[in-house]
Assembly symmetry: C2
Homo-oligomer: 234 residues x 2
């Protein structure tokens, strides 16, 4: 989620921050809802998700986070965790103390601004997810999620757009607010249309134009330059 260019001094300051590296098993929570946090989590490797929960047990993924993302940076300002963080695949997490982050944000205004911007960018994605879940039908919801992940991952290879996204169909269901069964059928529909393949945690976009059209996807909300390969198509 890099959105800011930092100076060498600022970069050094960040790299000098003390942190505790932690390995997390797939399908396990590393931040529980309701806990008062004293540190923020930097995803070093693996795929993580922020999880909302209803009292009746419904789980809703409200964002995915990959390497370099900080899923709960907002905790520096509001330390009470209002959603859980969960490792989708096996992941490595670097825990950095809120006090250290705050100190750095005040010492280096450029870093403070970058961190603030990071939380704002996260919020922009949340707003778009509300639109996605509230307004689009099953196929479009999935397509939109894949488009977002494609642009955020920025991993392109061969003549198809490919990127790692090791989610189960149950995870996709939780992210789109649909049942597992319907997620499965909608995915099949995208596959049969020759739009997209998903195997072994790798998403292969076969027809970006169609995927984008069914998703009604406009990458503006991500505040990222579309990757070069995409740029030609978008």
């Amino acid at each position: 989620m890099a959105r800011t260019q930092l100076t060498k001094v600022e970069q050094d300051a960040i790299l000098s921050l003390p942190g505790i590296l932690q390995s997390v098993e797939a399908r396990s929570d590393f931040v529980e809802r309701g806990d008062e946090q004293t540190s923020a989590c930097l995803v070093v490797s693996g795929l993580c998700a922020r999880m909302g929960q209803t009292i009746s047990g419904g789980r809703q993924i409200t964002n995915f986070y990959g390497a370099g993302d900080i899923p709960d940076l907002h905790g520096v300002m509001l330390p009470g965790a209002t959603s859980a963080l969960s490792a989708i695949s096996a992941a490595e997490i670097l825990r950095v103390r809120h006090t250290d982050i705050r100190a750095m944000a005040f010492s280096f205004p450029g870093i403070g601004e970058a961190l603030w911007r990071h939380t704002v960018s996260d919020a922009a994605i949340s707003a778009e997810w509300i639109v996605n879940v509230g307004q689009r039908d099953a196929r479009s919801r999935l397509a939109h999620l894949f488009c977002e992940m494609a642009v955020r991952h920025d991993k392109v290879s061969g003549n198809a757009f490919e990127f790692e996204f090791p989610v189960s169909q149950a995870n996709l269901a939780d992210a789109t607010g649909m049942s597992v069964v319907h997620t499965n059928r909608s995915l099949q529909s995208l596959r049969r249309a020759g739009t997209l393949q998903m195997r072994g945690g790798i998403v292969a976009v076969e027809d970006w134009a169609t995927l984008q059209a069914t998703a009604e996807f406009d990458s503006a909300y991500l505040n990222m330059q579309p990757p070069v390969r995409f740029a030609a198509v978008i």
Copy 2:
């Protein structure tokens, strides 16, 4: 959305900020999607909403904002508006330049922190809205929205909880991702159950316990102390 206690000096600094007061008609947009903003909007009076849009024309309200809220404070960090801002009722808006806000945030770290916290609090609400739209059925969605507004407005009178919320049923439909017709029927259902009345822009909660139960509402995500009257019930 006050979440921070500021010093006298900081309060004075805020009140000295130059701003342009603007009157906005009901049912009109005062920030268009895609515009590059140079100022942020403080809601002085009236009810506003942040609006997401799909290419096919679907509108989705992603939050409501009342007096004292700053719907697009995030624009200070990411000035490209990714959603529109719309006045639900007639409203007064104070536009404050981004550059002035940034300058103040750097001069008074306490203010910078308060502003950052404001954007983070907004994001926490967005995350909960994803859960609401993704996981709950029609009645619960409406109930949850009313619960949130009740706590955020913090207006209690008589032996029923009452607060101003001048939305049309079409607005409620846009906020919950439902059709107008179904919104109407679900509202009737809440009304007939004796849970809640809505007339002339005033919501009167007749049975908070039931409303909260159908909503599966937990106010933690708002990071506010529940109002005194509520506190006895929550």
